[in-house]
Symmetry: C2
Subunit: 383 residues, 2 copies
Amino acid sequence: MKNISRRKFLRSSAIIAATGALVTPNVACKRLFVNTKTSGSKTLSLKFSHMMHELRHTFTISGFSRDQTAAVLAEISYDGYTGYGEGGLPPYMTGQTVESSTFFLNKIDLSQFSSPFELEDILTYVDSVDSGHSCSKSAIDIALHDLIGKLLDKPLYQLWGYNREKAPDTSFTIGIDKEEVVRQKTEEAAPYNLIKVKLGVDEKTDKMLVNTIRSVTDKPIVVDANQGWKDKNFALEMINWLNERNVLLIEQPMPKNVFDEMAWVTERSPLPTFADESCQRLADVAKLHNVFSGINIKLIKCTGLREANKMIATADALGMKLMIGCTTESSCAISAAAQISPKMYFADLDGNLLISNDPFTGMKIVDGKITLNDKPGIGISRI
Amino acid sequence: MKNISRRKFLRSSAIIAATGALVTPNVACKRLFVNTKTSGSKTLSLKFSHMMHELRHTFTISGFSRDQTAAVLAEISYDGYTGYGEGGLPPYMTGQTVESSTFFLNKIDLSQFSSPFELEDILTYVDSVDSGHSCSKSAIDIALHDLIGKLLDKPLYQLWGYNREKAPDTSFTIGIDKEEVVRQKTEEAAPYNLIKVKLGVDEKTDKMLVNTIRSVTDKPIVVDANQGWKDKNFALEMINWLNERNVLLIEQPMPKNVFDEMAWVTERSPLPTFADESCQRLADVAKLHNVFSGINIKLIKCTGLREANKMIATADALGMKLMIGCTTESSCAISAAAQISPKMYFADLDGNLLISNDPFTGMKIVDGKITLNDKPGIGISRI
């Protein structure tokens, strides 16, 4: 499912649009579908649509390139308030598409619940409707949380007892590219205190990428190997090489199902190791204890903020470190993820900075640090 | 510390009262100390006092008897609202006393925090002031949560997304006593759907207790062996014997630090096993995976509701069952524990029913089931 092409994606979209769903293009986001289940002031009502995020730069990671990313937008209304939630649909990561999220969200009926505060029941129901579909589930979860925050007139980080002053720096991500592009992107990253680089192609390219960044700046680097190193000895060698170049941590050095070798690497690694592809949902966290030093939480993997908070508690219980990541998403999903960032060792929440048509404003990066506002819920406004 | 006598307890109290603390006796609760740290509408202000709960029946478990139990009451005010929190101080369980909780709470200064919503920071600070003191820490945690619920005008179970309809039955606890008293108490337990019995004395007494209950009723029984069975073969034999007598689960059959033998018992047990003394705080949960089937959360062990919710998440992640227990406490601590009861397999929240001078009303037992009200916070009122 990793190599769904842009052409196939556009073909799928066209098929669905042609079968009669409401198409509402607008400047900021291209809406393909709207599905209103119910209406009424004290009834939970779900609408969903899709956005097509335009990338500022063609993005390459080990595998393929893209210059657009789709995302699903959920809007849940109750008692005169509307909560927004987004789930990015990056083709390389989950295999979820506009087509599959439409299929899933058309099955969701929230009118059976009498209040958005019945979160445990609502999200257990949503999760039970079908396996997978974590991106669409996350959009619903975020919209419900945003709605609850608005009903209570409080930002989510406050409702969860987190201190926004403790939000970490975010990194700026540099994809796999030619030397000159990497140099240019590193210069663009000037406002950030951390650089994240995607490695895992081959030794020569990996070292070129790091050396090129180092020719521009000495800022700390976070490395994401995206499962790229297949041999434990090579992985450890690379980590030792990186450790001499002001690298802070190494994410998913080896293939996601390689546990014994990964535990061997973590035991010997001078840098903390983080699970990304190996860690999808709550039930994975305990299995990764002593395999990785920490986990990368992404809302589109774990079905949203409620499960993310449970993963935080479990990682705390196990003494594992935490980071939060994202995909190419608007300020809606990014501001949602930012609400739990005060609990993170490090954040990788630059997805909204990579797109040119963000329909929302929300959390800001100020001097490289995630900066949460006072607005209720996830703290976003439509542009 | 297990056998602190009532005389020693009263002597300690007298010493402290004599050293100048404010004594304000009243009908419902005997207040020994009041300590107001700060005042001002947008300042967090902590007061604490102690209550002496009078038991309806002299209570015996393996070890000793008592007819009174002390508890600490925290009152935290902010912006015109006051939250209440209680931590029972049962001498056999924690070694914490009126004296030690006074010592600890006098060190707490909440005026350094600008809002009760900074829960993570406040409770991390409170936990860091001194090790131990979990009962006093829980009183603060509950008072802060009650305050937040009042500020938001929502019951805590709603803020956490729990459905109060899913709150479980509670049991009525029968202590170790003579046959005729056990028979009488079993008859008193008529309004409850579950009976909890404390075993762990010796085989003859244990079987007498269960047989006496069975001579009155066929209702399901929950057994708490309170670490009483020292040999794994005997523990398993007892569990098998109990399994033929409509027993639902077995709590802490063996000594708290006996892990390998306990895992052996759990593997062979026809009944789920629950850790009580073996499970104090969040960090214990993962260690008990595959040792017990589940954990008994008590707020006075785990420092309160915030850590309890993290333990719930971790137990969910590990596929472990949950129950919630209490000690002899008023409707304040019991109503707080009831807020998380919808996530529990079973609850043992009868502490307030065992005392004759409860200064609060809150959650009710209706047809044996925990019944949460619509009031904000922990849902209590002073009588």
